[in-house]
Structures are given as C-alpha cells and as structure tokens.
Symmetry: C2
Subunit: 179 residues, 2 copies
Amino acid sequence: MNLAESLLQDKGFNGFSYAHIASELGVKNAAIHYHFPAKEDLACAVIQRYRDRFKLWTNNSRVKDLSPEEKLNWFFSIYSDFRADNGKVCLVGSLEAEYNSIPEQLQKQTEAMHRELLAWLQVTLKEGRDAGVINFNGEPANKAALILSSVQGALQMARALGTKKFRDVVEQHKLDLVV
Amino acid sequence: MNLAESLLQDKGFNGFSYAHIASELGVKNAAIHYHFPAKEDLACAVIQRYRDRFKLWTNNSRVKDLSPEEKLNWFFSIYSDFRADNGKVCLVGSLEAEYNSIPEQLQKQTEAMHRELLAWLQVTLKEGRDAGVINFNGEPANKAALILSSVQGALQMARALGTKKFRDVVEQHKLDLVV
DNA sequence: GTCTATAGGGGGATAGAC
DNA sequence: GTCTATCCCCCTATAGAC
C-alpha cells in the first residue's frame, strides 16, 4: 500500500501496474492479487487509509490545538513534502485528472476524500478569520476551494516549471491572507 | 487533432488511443499513423496548435484592446467553457498530472505552453494593478501562478464535486482581486 | 492516403501446484 | 500466501497491398 500510494502520486492510477509493485517488493504479481483482487480494491484501500490518516491527524491534539495560522502552515507543509518527495502530486489531483477513466468505487472514494479535506480547511479558515488572525473576503467554503485547488494545481505545475513555482504560490497565499 | 485535443482533456495522454480516434472518424488506426507516426507526434502537434491559437487570440485586437478586467473575464471564460464541455480539464493540468509518464518532447511542449499562459496572465495582472482597477499584494508573477494553478486544479475538482465548485473558485478570485 | 494483417509488448486477472 | 503458467485484451507501431 505504501508503494501503491507512492505510485499513484507519481504516475497516476492508469500509469502504474501490479508488476511495478511486485518487482519492487521482490514478489510476483499474483501475490498482490491475493490481497487485492482488483486494482480498484488496492487503490480504494490506499485512499481509505489516507482518509483515516487525515482524520486522525486533524483530530489529534498535536494539530487540533495549533493556532489557525499554524494549522494552515501544517497544511501547506504536507504538500511541500509531496513536492520534495520526487515531485509527487496530491492523490486528489492525480485521481481527478484521470477521473473519467477510473473505476466507479474509486471515483466515490476520491470525492469523499476531497470533501473531507475541504471541510477541514473551511473550518480552519473560518476559525482564523473569527479570531482576527487571517483575512479574506467572502465565504470560507469558497476560499477553501480556491486554496486547495491551487495547491493541487501548483504541485502539477512544479513538475514542468520547478519547485520554486510551488513555493511562490504558497507564499502568495500567505500574502493574500494577511490581515 | 480536434478529437485528440478533446481526448487529451477528457482522458489524458495515457488514457486515449489511436483506436478511439480512428473509430470516431470511421477510419483505421494505420491511417492516423500515416499522418502522425508516433502518438507523441500527435500530442505535440495538438499542443503546438493550442500555443499558436493562444498567441493569436492574445495578440488579436479583440482581446488585446480589452480592459484588464475584461481580459481576466475572457481568461476565466476559457476554463468555464472547458468545464461546460463534458467536464474537460485544461491541457496543462492533464499533461502535468501524468508528466512522469509522457514522452520527453511532450514534456517540453507542455512546459512551453504553461510558461506562455503564465506570462500573459502576469502582464495582464500588472497592467490592471498599474491602472488601479484590480488589487493584490506581491509580485504579479506569483499571483499569476496562484490563479492559473487554482483554475487548473478547480477544473479537476469540479469532476468530483460538481460545476458549482468551479464557479465558486472563479468568483472567489474576483472577490480577492477587488480594489 | 487508406486498407488488411500482424508483430510485439504490457497489463489485469485467474487456475492450480506447493 | 506465494509460486508458475497462462489467458485474454488493449495498445503502439509497422509491412505491404491497393
């Protein structure tokens, strides 16, 4: 599942195969089919694990007790880490780019994951604005969608234009949120 | 090339085949190989055409003579049209999502296209701020990267979460740019 | 320029031995 | 649980007839 997650972020659902994972693990692909009968099952398990992990993190006191600004910095740092790790993109971006050619259950998992990320970001933005430490116009939900879509796109952009472009986007977001 | 462009936006480079185009045109795939020996040649030609088209549009008096705000609206409307057209995403987003598994020449075309889009947006933002009709902090280049990456991500997001989310992001951008 | 035919490879998935 | 072996499909690409 670690390898599958990594390959999803690197090559996308249609870009990796059981053979990639098998050779890396030193087993045969039939062994993987024993645990995950279909490729869809493997990908769905990866997404479900990611969703559980994000829920755990955000409910965890280590993140939950941070200030709104620190929470945002933590959020951005997740994506910076993706970028630093051989130019990976977020699972959401990878899966939605090929949304029209992935299995139905995987589409549903993708949607659920995306909604959960947005919901957390929206609440965090509202919390920060209510506390007077960050600033933006309009609905927290819309600003959350803007920021998440931008980070998602910026990870892809950085593949063609370099890591600096990704950092520039994050810095611009922080500038835009200044009180 | 029209079909190839459409399929690139719909399924990505690895998600479409000569057979898709051939059956749609009522010919055999060998006929396509006559015009575009390799799949890479076809995709590169599509990108080159798109670059030429964008250059033509932005140098054309119909766009060139618009006000900065109208130029931005025109820019956003391109992506709204993609969204309305069966949930297509932009070529940049599609190709960069699978950047690590596309041919080298196609990577280069993608990078060039992305730089040209960014350059135009950057100049337009600067023009608008200098004229006092739009407002943002920091460098025009960084704001341009933020907006383009966001629209790119928002088209993907809309596939899972619906068209309204895309419109919300565009409206939020306009709100963020208010003087 | 398009056709038929086919080479040659990869990928998803299963059967059955161990 | 993992192995070998294999099936079947789709894909890119080419050869040679028309």
